[in-house]
């Protein structure tokens, strides 16, 4: 494989790919994202390939990155007509291939039913989950083979790099990113162009770039999906940034828990190096940039930029105070620019399409799109890309399909364990940096966990507090001991041992930890507690003052009881009780001994007669 001698060679390659035989042959794309892989998409892919071969058909089968609609995986889409098949099993291969080649109808079970009409939807673009999205960064995730540089180049890949290198000065690139209004997608929302400029202005020849791919929020997997599905776009963003900032070396700091993303990223780096898109004298322009992968070892705090840099340097992943900021003294004391995967991936789009195109989406202060991983008590879990400024209601109901089992929406935790919850009365709040901040939440890295009426908000807050407490590095006292004190208080409240004054103590701890902790982990750790206290204070009071858990979740505050009028005495619950807490004879109403009962809920879940009540 020869290196591309100049930008014209890249354009020629792209033209050749577009003109090549079979570039537009019918194709089935199979989602190879982690969710669909867990559902068995690799076997589905093999079965489709086998069926295509058996029929001697000119049908390509391609594994792509995450399509996003994880709830309905494994996902298969035909191209060019974009027929969508959901929950495909290997044994469905014959039916799907016949549908594509012969135009035969497929069984409804392979189609996504319209939530309103119940009728099967044929085309991907008609599915409400996709229809209301605005996919910029994720646009190619469903069509590219992530291991094929040809695919990326054929889709216009690296043209933005060529444009930057030939038509724009570094200052012009920064001006473009500034004008686009891109803000750091790692959570803090700092203007990306201003950050780049600060680093560029620093004296010295040695500057570093870092791609922060240490995605660690519970339930968040958008960085992972971008790197798994379209690693070259992250590379291209880094290359453009390196050119703008004047860096010759970059690092991708990625969690070792993401083996597929690591594999795809490493493959992309090797491919780009082989074609002269990475390394010395890129595209013959004299610009050079090298990129290395560094693996994280499972510490959440290493997503914090100073801890991350310590980890790259080979030291313990602990944060250090800022200032000095990384732009002044970062990796090995040199000026360093660090951005999140999503920020880097947005850069080629901005350079290729222009700042105005990107800034046309969003609100006056928050431009472009955000990617959310939507999980929890919601019908359509998955990856969602939307313009900033859409309302939480649109995100949860139009795209997310609302709450399962006809339950009521209660709150959405935005921004993972560093974020806050937003209650139902603020569902129409636009999702942008300022509006969420005003409600005590943050945009964060884009994790969105939905809670329904059966969720206890004290327990919800306790869960996130437990996460951050376990992930505290332990360097500073407010975070190490303070989060433990908050967690212990929450655990007491959930166990029914809350005391008057606990709420005030939590507030005092929360405010102090936020203000006095060393790094972002501690400074945001109290947010889930503070925001639930702000919006769901009554639930805390019910736990503490009235010894009740309104959502009937906290085990220390509930009892399971048999409704004698409904119990048929079938003995199913009795047999399933792991601790022998249920007594009673056949065809006689049973009783549960609260002293023995562990509140596991098994009796309720096995009872067919709705005869077990929680009080």
């Amino acid at each position: 494989m020869t290196k591309l001698a100049d930008p014209a060679a890249l354009a020629a390659w792209q033209a050749a790919l577009a003109a090549a035989d079979g570039h537009d042959r019918p194709t089935l794309t199979v989602c190879g994202g982690t969710g669909c892989r867990v559902y068995g998409s690799e076997r589905v892919c093999a079965a489709l390939q086998q069926e295509s071969d058996r029929r001697g058909a000119d049908l390509a089968v391609k594994v792509t990155g995450c399509h996003g609609f994880c709830e309905r995986g494994p996902l298969v889409v035909s191209h060019p007509e974009r027929q969508m098949y959901t929950r495909v099993k290997p044994e469905d291969a014959r039916e799907v291939v016949a549908a594509v080649l012969d135009g035969r109808p497929v069984a409804d079970r392979l189609r996504y039913p319209d939530p309103q009409t119940g009728l099967p939807i044929q085309h991907e673009q008609d599915v409400p989950f996709y229809r209301h999205q605005h996919r910029l960064v994720l646009d190619l995730n469903g069509t590219l083979d992530p291991l094929s540089l040809d695919d990326y180049v054929a889709a216009g890949g690296y043209a933005a790099l060529a444009k930057a290198l030939t038509a724009l000065t570094p200052a012009a690139v920064i001006a473009e990113v500034k004008a686009a209004g891109l803000r750091g997608r790692g959570g803090a929302g700092f203007p990306t162009g201003a950050k780049w400029e600060a680093c560029r202005r620093q004296p010295g020849d040695v500057k570093y770039l870092i791609c922060n791919a240490d995605e660690g929020d519970p339930g968040a997997y958008m960085d992972r999906s971008i790197m798994e599905g379209n690693p070259h776009r992250v590379l291209e963003g880094l290359l453009i940034g390196a050119y703008a900032i004047g860096a010759r070396q970059g690092f991708v700091y990625i969690r070792n828990e993401y083996p597929l993303a690591v594999k795809h990223l490493r493959a992309a780096i090797a491919q780009a190096e082989a074609r002269g898109l990475l390394g010395e004298n890129i595209l013959g322009t004299g610009f050079s940039f090298h990129l290395s992968v560094r693996l994280g070892s499972g510490a959440f705090v290493c997503g914090e930029e100073t801890a991350l840099m310590a980890s790259i340097e080979g030291r313990v992943g602990e944060p250090r105070p800022r200032p000095p900021y990384p732009a002044e003294a970062g990796l090995w004391g040199k000026p360093t620019n660090i951005n999140n995967v999503k920020s880097w991936a947005a850069v080629p789009l901005i350079i290729a399409n222009g700042a105005a195109w990107y800034a046309a989406l969003g609100t006056p202060t928050s431009k472009g799109t955000l990617i959310f991983s939507v999980v929890g008590k919601i019908n359509n879990t998955g990856l969602v890309e939307v313009p900033l400024g859409i309302s939480l209601r649109q995100l949860i109901f139009d795209i997310g399909g609302g709450i399962p089992n006809g339950k009521q929406f209660k709150a959405a935790q935005i921004g993972g364990p560093s974020g806050g919850c937003i209650p139902a009365e603020h569902l129409d709040t636009p999702i942008d940096y300022e509006s969420l901040s005003a409600l005590g939440a943050i945009v964060g890295s884009g994790g969105l966990v939905v809670a329904d009426e059966d969720t206890c908000m004290v327990d919800f807050a306790r869960y996130f507090m437990q996460f951050t407490q376990e992930e505290s590095c332990g360097k500073c006292v407010p975070c190490r001991v303070g989060t433990k004190a908050m967690l212990a208080t929450l655990e007491r409240i959930c166990a029914g041992q809350g005391r008057p004054g606990d709420v005030e103590y939590l507030l005092e701890l929360g405010e102090t930890i936020k203000r006095s902790s060393l790094c972002g982990l501690g400074q945001t750790a109290p947010n889930p507690v503070l925001s639930t206290l702000r919006h769901f204070r009554a639930e805390y009071d019910a736990h503490i003052l009235h010894q009740t858990c309104p959502a009937k979740v906290c085990k220390g505050l509930i009892t399971y009881q048999v409704r004698p009028e409904k119990c048929t005495g079938c003995m199913v619950c009795l047999r399933n009780c792991a601790v022998g807490a249920i007594h009673g004879a056949k065809q006689q109403p049973h009783t549960i001994d609260p002293a023995v009962c562990t509140r596991c809920g098994m009796c309720q879940s096995v009872c067919k007669f709705d005869a077990v009540a929680v009080n």
């Binding site: 105070p321 332990g474 360097k475 001991v481 303070g482 102090t512």
Partner: protein
């Protein structure tokens, strides 16, 4: 030289000073625990927090919002507006001291420090309190003063603790006792140094020898001992 404002007073300090150094140089008291003048600032205990506000940009007279920052690690910058004893600062220090006591409520030294900041009660206690407040002084002294790094902080969060590498005795330990001397809560004892926390396997010949030598050492914890005196004491004790 850099000009900044501390508690409404304009002061001038040399370039490269931290806020803590500036405060102490100009007579503004700031409590510390993990700070030691002979060691690099660490920023862990958060007792030295002060309120820091950036100067307003030119043409904008409105004061900028203040944030809490550890004075020991914050570099002096021109025009900073610093408050060393505001209500927010006091509240933060009180709660931090109380949290320090959660793991060291049997330490008279920690109680004295906390009381001086206005703490009267401890609302939260760690069941496994062993009086180590993980300030890292011993570890940093071993690294920066003695130069051997025989001990380090291992694990994270509540499990963080002082230990020789891999929790096995390390040959790097000189047995100088600096770690014992610098410990603010007196949690490091001779038996620790000759045993678990030390580089010398308990029962080894040199360990016994070391114990005999060091038994004459002054074991009272030194809150902010002068490094010279500390080193001299260590030398005296070990004959190094």
């Amino acid at each position: 030289m850099i000009q900044l404002t501390i508690d409404d007073r304009r002061v001038t300090v040399a370039e490269g000073r931290t806020l803590l150094e500036a405060c102490r140089e100009h007579g503004f008291p700031v409590p510390t625990l993990c700070y030691h003048p002979a060691l690099k600032p660490y920023g862990g205990c958060r007792l030295c927090v002060v309120e820091v506000a950036q100067p307003p940009p030119p043409g904008d007279a409105r004061p900028r919002p203040a944030r809490l920052a550890a004075a020991c690690t914050y570099p002096c910058e021109p025009g900073l507006v610093v408050r060393t004893n505001s209500e927010a600062v006091q509240r933060s220090r009180r709660l931090t001291a109380e949290l320090l006591l959660a793991g060291a409520y049997q330490s008279p030294e920690m109680w004295a420090l906390a009381k001086s900041l206005g703490v009267e009660q401890v609302r939260f206690q760690l069941p496994e309190a062993d009086n180590c407040v993980v300030c890292g002084l011993c570890v940093r002294a071993c690294q920066e003063i003695v130069g051997v790094s025989a001990i380090s902080l291992i694990k994270r969060g509540m499990a963080k603790q002082v230990s020789p590498p891999f929790e096995i005795a390390s040959a790097a330990c000189l047995g100088c006792g600096t770690c014992v001397l610098i410990c603010p809560t007196g949690v490091l004892r001779l038996e620790d140094v000759s045993g678990y926390r030390s580089a010398h396997a308990a029962g080894a010949a040199e360990a016994r020898e070391y114990c005999q030598t060091c038994s004459e050492l002054d074991l009272e914890p030194h809150f902010v001992a002068a490094p010279e005196a500390l080193l001299a004491a260590a030398r005296e004790g070990t004959g190094l």
